[in-house]
């Protein structure tokens, strides 16, 4: 008992006060791992889950349970909620088979930095994610996150986060991102948000509202009330604004909505309808499409307003547009050849050339944040989500349903979200699939959902 108490105190003492930073230092594992399994007092509640165990994520203990404004009310309950969010993130991307806090015994606070490896080995855990949560004097929370290789008995990574109570989920997403990145070698993506269109009502009188949510569907919020049809939102790269289309004054126009203030501005005073808005990677300009006398071209305008520059100038419909990550090129769609096809041009409008030659129509191209792929909607019978390289080669269809359209990339360029419409009912929902075409799954949204737009990883 005395020994355990001492270990606990040492551990507490060794958790330094963390700065308001993403990856503040957290303590190293104690020199000698505890053999004591005293903390493993719970029992396994779901035997079947153990068979699949890849990563064990027990509840995050706290040094002293204190009241917090975060979900759960106390840091002790919050610790379980944090582990649940990490578990949910890792479970849903298909690479891992995690076991969460509701199927695992709890651990003592002192164990966080010095895991009982022997015990976890006995339970066939390959990886172990442990963390802690503490209340800081000003009401904020400190969350630590550790990744261990159980069979090697070593620590692989650790991070610490200081967050406001209302942002507690971000600490869990950052933790899941650390685990995902360390184990997959890919860039993180969980700590990000999605803007989309919530849909309700019958097919001929559908109400369409602008809405936002975290990448796991939490913190859902409606931005518009649905009085005016809202379509095709895009988050600005810094998440401060959303550009989208609204029929607010009867005709389709693009607006910039400021999330902090709720202020909304018309981007351009052009006479024709404006639609299909997109941000440049630096957030300084907006691409949009405008129809004049039935002919649609793509324009660029400063995000703060000002003179528009026309980038395309061919008879027909030139629409959409998505910048390469370095901002030097734009991929867009045009029917100048007779049907919708994908084209690439320089950011200034030069060197326009078609890259899609697959049969059928190809539309809604979106450049991967990694730059190596372009996702698009391939319409040949069914509407499918497909990817190709920026030269138009190596085309692969990732989905096959009656109508899948409008891909948007996860910030790490490994997962694509899109929306799927049901035949006849027209009901739509957001789905995601990874670049291999596997791990397809539907996102939970409170209502019907379309036009997803995934933003970057939060700073």
């Amino acid at each position: 008992m005395t020994i355990r108490k001492l270990a606990l105190l040492l551990a507490v003492a060794s958790f330094p006060a963390l700065a308001f930073a993403q990856q503040a230092a957290v303590p190293a594992s104690a020199a000698s791992p505890q053999a004591d399994e005293g903390g493993l007092t719970g029992s396994v509640t779901d035997e079947s889950e153990w068979q699949d165990l890849g990563i064990a994520i027990p509840s995050f203990p706290t040094d002293r349970s204190e009241a917090t404004a975060a979900d759960g009310g106390t840091t002790e309950v919050l610790g379980r909620n944090l582990a649940r969010v990490v578990y949910g993130d890792l479970k849903n991307n298909g690479l891992f088979k995690p076991v969460g806090p509701d199927a695992l015994p709890g651990i003592a606070y002192a164990e966080v930095a010095s895991p009982a490896f022997a015990g976890w080995r006995g339970r066939s855990a390959e990886m172990l994610v442990q963390g802690f949560v503490k209340a800081v004097a000003d009401g904020r929370l400190t969350v630590g996150c550790y990744l261990y290789d159980v069979s090697l008995g070593t620590e692989l990574a650790r991070q610490g986060y200081v967050v406001k109570p209302e942002e507690w989920r971000r600490a869990a997403h950052k933790c899941a991102d650390m685990v995902y990145s360390r184990l997959s070698g890919e860039s993180p993506f969980f700590d990000s948000k999605i803007a989309y269109i919530a849909e309700t009502g019958p097919k001929d009188r559908r109400r369409k509202q602008l809405a936002i949510m975290d990448s796991d569907g939490a913190n859902h919020r409606f931005i518009t009330n649905g009085q005016a049809t809202a379509l095709t939102p895009r988050y600005s790269p810094d998440y401060s604004k959303i550009v989208y289309l609204s029929y607010l004054n009867g005709a389709p126009r693009i607006y910039v909505y400021e999330i902090g203030t709720g202020r909304q501005t018309l981007v351009t005073q052009g006479k024709g309808p404006t639609f299909a808005p997109r941000w440049s990677p630096d957030g300084k300009s907006i691409l949009y499409s405008m129809a004049i006398s039935g002919n649609t071209d793509i324009y660029r305008v400063p995000a703060t307003g000002g003179e528009s520059v026309r980038l395309t100038n061919t008879p027909g419909i030139n629409v959409g547009g998505s910048y390469s990550p370095d901002g030097s090129k734009i991929v867009f769609e045009s029917d100048r050849s007779g049907s919708q096809q994908v084209y690439v041009m320089d950011a200034g409008g030069g060197n326009q050339r078609r890259i899609s030659f697959f049969g059928g129509r190809s539309a809604t191209p979106e450049w991967s944040p990694r730059g190596d792929q372009i996702a698009f909607t391939h319409m040949a019978g069914n509407f499918r989500i497909a990817v190709m390289n920026p030269q138009g080669g190596e085309m692969r269809e990732l989905t096959d349903s009656w109508q899948d359209e409008a891909p948007t990339w996860a910030p790490n360029g490994r997962i694509i979200q899109f929306f799927r419409t049901q035949k006849n009912s027209g009901e739509s929902s957001i789905w995601q699939v990874d670049l291999t075409g596997r791990n397809e799954r539907k996102l939970d949204t409170p209502r019907g959902a379309s036009d997803p737009a995934w933003g970057p990883v939060l700073p």
Partner: protein
């Protein structure tokens, strides 16, 4: 004097009928004291108020022209429809119209907004070509957002690929 009474009655009755046709939620105006003197054997007025949306619908071959998949050209049948609309507009030079362009659901959203605009514009261009002043015609595209027929079949899609002329009252 009785003749004036009769005219007023006819106009009022016609107005209330039109109101019923186009705005079902609005009650017809209360009859004024003068109309109560109408004799029971007065002729019942027929037809909508001249120049109204109801009058437009009653006068033209159709308020809607239809398009083939991914097309926006005005064919000969559409031309007949649009000519009848142009004749009505010639009769009521003070009236303006909005042409709504629509698409079927089998297209991507952005493109369909552009295509709906192109269809509305094609109908507008035809009206202008037969003498209607362009300033009297505005266009709006709803893309695939407002289907009329709700099925996911060729017959429904054909009904939804349309440009609809609506009078501005």
């Amino acid at each position: 004097m009785p003749r004036n009474f009769l005219t007023a009655t006819l106009l009022l009755s016609a107005f209330s009928m039109a109101a019923c046709t186009t705005k079902p939620k609005e009650l017809p105006p209360q009859p004024s004291a003068s109309t109560t003197t109408t004799r029971p054997d007065a002729p019942t007025p027929a037809g909508p108020v001249p120049g109204s949306q109801a009058d437009f619908l009653a006068s033209v071959l159709s308020d809607t022209v239809y398009f083939d998949t991914d097309r926006y050209n005005v064919d000969t049948e559409d031309q007949g429809t649009l000519q009848s609309q142009a004749q009505w507009l010639a009769r009521y030079p003070g009236k303006s119209v909005t042409i709504e362009g629509h698409c079927d659901e089998r297209g991507t959203r952005d493109y369909n907004i552009a295509l709906g605009e192109r269809r509305a514009n094609a109908a507008k261009n035809y009206l202008v070509s037969v003498g209607v002043d362009a300033s009297r015609i505005s266009t709006v595209s709803y893309g695939k957002e407002r289907p009329l027929a709700l099925g996911s079949d060729e017959a429904s899609w054909a009904k939804n690929r349309r440009a609809v002329t609506i009078t501005v009252q």
